[in-house]
């Protein structure tokens, strides 16, 4: 276990994807909300934890890549692409999911369709969409995990975009 001060000083996923280097004014600003910094990284760790059952880490990383590609969040998409490669996921599958091309696996197709819909048109969420996930074999905890993951990615995309805008002002100043 790291101490709070060490973990708050380490570069986290948000710092790496904005990107913010140590000493950057926007990073120091972020550190003023250290509980948010820690819980954002803690949420990321929970979303991709190997202890979550019902949805593999590779499936969750594919969801993340698809969500960030749909959101046109380039640096976050690159982060998830790197993690997928490190997991040893097939390069053609990664390319297909990143570009929105169809995938062969029916379960993954259902999960990715739910992902794009929830990212882009959350108001269209309905009971039938949740049922489609259950019909594809997802347990209730797996559906909750998928919903939390996609919702977290919506947060992460906006946090990175907002911090990039703040950092751009610093550069111009």
């Amino acid at each position: 276990m790291t101490t709070l001060s060490e973990s708050s000083l380490a570069l986290d996923v948000i710092d790496a994807t904005v990107p913010l280097v140590p000493g950057h004014a926007t990073r120091l600003l972020r550190q003023q909300r250290d509980k948010v910094v820690a819980a954002t990284q803690g949420s990321y760790d929970a979303m991709f934890s190997s202890s979550v059952e019902g949805l593999s880490v590779a499936e969750r990383l594919l969801v993340a890549l698809h969500a960030c590609s749909v959101s046109k969040a380039a640096t976050l998409a690159a982060h998830y692409r790197e993690r997928l490669l490190a997991e040893g996921v097939d390069r053609e599958l990664i390319a297909a999911v990143g570009s929105g091309a169809p995938v062969a696996d029916a379960r993954l197709r259902t999960v990715l369709a739910f992902t794009a819909s929830l990212i882009e048109r959350p108001i269209e969420g309905d009971r039938a969409a949740v049922q489609s996930l259950a019909d594809a074999g997802l347990s209730t905890p797996a559906i909750v995990a998928l919903g939390q993951l996609i919702a977290f990615l919506s947060y992460q995309v906006r946090l990175v975009a907002g911090l990039q805008a703040l950092a751009a002002v610093e550069v111009a100043a």
């Binding site: 909300r33 969420g125 209730t140 909750v144 946090l159």
Partner: protein, 202 residues
């Protein structure tokens, strides 16, 4: 704390107290694990009796971290006044069409600000809502970050600075809007709002 005025009902949105009905089976508190109970208690003293949080308790570590983030973003001292964080949350919920979230955070705005004029405006037409230049800028930024995060730029940050927001206030607003991009998607996709008097249907 509740308003004595008639409830606001505009374009399907309201500041009335609504219920929420899950589409998935909630965790049973009586058989919940210690990790599930800890995550619920981290959120709020009422979470053990909330269908929404009991559904999210199926993934306790995710709920725990989200609860810490939620409370830190909405309640931390200093920075942006809490009423304005609630306004950002309400705007994001209005733009995403989350009737339940919009009702909860409209109520919290009113409790903190002691007025509801801007809430009626947000429900009617978010793009032109705001009773002051500062409020209009906060609403416009919230819409933009919520709907088109890829288009948020340094100019949007400068606009907020010109109406007097500090950098910490801007960060607090970014956190609040981003948090409700998260919350809205859970509320909209794992269940549905129930209006007063409609609880017995279906």
């Amino acid at each position: 704390m509740s308003s004595t005025n008639a409830p606001i009902r505009i374009k399907g949105f309201t500041n009335e107290v609504l219920s929420w009905k899950p589409w998935l089976d909630p965790v049973d508190v009586a058989s919940a694990t210690p990790a599930q109970l800890a995550a619920l208690d981290e959120m709020s003293p009422q979470a053990r009796s909330s269908p929404y949080f009991l559904v999210l308790a199926h993934q306790p570590e995710m709920l725990l971290q989200r609860s810490i983030a939620f409370n830190a973003i909405m309640f931390a001292p200093g920075g942006m006044p809490r009423a304005e964080r609630e306004l950002g949350a309400t705007v994001e919920s209005r733009v995403n069409g989350c009737v339940y979230c919009a009702s909860v955070h409209a109520q919290r705005f009113e409790q903190l600000a002691k007025r509801s004029d801007v809430i009626s405006q947000v429900f009617e037409e978010p793009a032109s809502a705001g009773t002051t230049a500062r409020e209009k800028a906060i609403v416009e930024f919230s819409i933009r970050l919520g709907a088109e995060p890829g288009k948020v730029s340094a100019d949007d940050v400068r606009t907020l600075k010109e109406v007097g927001l500090s950098e910490l206030e801007i960060l607090d607003l970014i956190h609040s809007v981003a948090l409700f991009a998260w919350a809205n998607r859970l509320m909209l996709n794992l269940g549905e709002p129930v209006f007063p008097g409609a609880a017995a249907s279906s």
